[in-house]
Symmetry: C2
Subunit: 213 residues, 2 copies
Amino acid sequence: MTSGTRGMSAGSGTRSGRRPGNSGTREAILDAARIRFAAVGFDKASIRSIATAAEVDPALVHHYFGTKHQLFAAALQLPVDPQDILSGFAAVPIENLGEHIIRTVLGIWDSPVGMPAVAAFRSLLASDDPTLARTFLLEVVLKEIRPLVDSPPGTGAKRAGLAASQLAGLLVTRKILKLEPIASMAIDDLAALVGPTLQRYFTGDLDRLLPSE
Amino acid sequence: MTSGTRGMSAGSGTRSGRRPGNSGTREAILDAARIRFAAVGFDKASIRSIATAAEVDPALVHHYFGTKHQLFAAALQLPVDPQDILSGFAAVPIENLGEHIIRTVLGIWDSPVGMPAVAAFRSLLASDDPTLARTFLLEVVLKEIRPLVDSPPGTGAKRAGLAASQLAGLLVTRKILKLEPIASMAIDDLAALVGPTLQRYFTGDLDRLLPSE
């Protein structure tokens, strides 16, 4: 959504640098970002603190990576800025959100940018410290979903978490384990079969979402 | 179910051996089993072929590990024989199967034997070759579920695969990523919230499960 040219340069270390040591500096910033995001979370990690840890000027972090969301996407080696996708969900009619998310997410996973996205998720799962993956889901992805599905008030976190449990499993079975028949099913079929699961989690009249009095 | 004392010895290399070289032989058998199960699958991998690869007598494989299912559980470093759990599902009324499986599986994951089971699944996910995890799911776990939910005939593989996608995601979010609020929710609550998802996949009147004419 923002700062297109900066976003384009994220993840590429091959273009001609604007100054010597370009790619070493980029890597130092990414390393500092990974450590900082894992230590204090996305919201509390400031560009300034990451720049200090990498021993560069904060302006250079913005120059190389754009927004904090784009820096996080680059630190996770994501091929797309998740904010670009998530910001579109708010405009979808709530009664279609389940199927829409299944179509959007499967469309990305099955596309050319999907393979590095799946590889990034897999390496986060395999990591000894899942903090970075948890931070990404809680403070970037689910943060955008929760307010959309928070009805009655106080149920949004559980609704979004349940949807994450179905989506994570679809990623694992279809793209990592390549479990048949899930791996080969058409997106249309999975949207019709799994979309209602997400929809029930988002808007279903569910007991157990609020603490009993 | 079978051969209790043999099953108990699987996974332990520390007890006093019946002969010198005991633990080296056990490891050689497990290595051969992992290679063979990954290469040809569970059904086609014979105890004889694994014994030949490990350069031991087939009787020694049975002596150390019991049944082929128990050998596979040991090769995957599972703390329990999955067959013991799976064989109980056939006796559950079909209309309760979704909630029953959620309760059973979460009960195991949250129990003392759950941690090594989760660790085993995580290392299979992280492995460069997911064949062993896929074989385990397809030829051991889902093989038992498919015939229970194959109505109308031909839908069992998709129904069981969809259920696997929800269960795998529950494992990833609750036990690997420890994503809140899923990580801390009571089993009763998750059984009530996620059980109906599995139940719909198992017995729901779903379009898209059979190829259209």
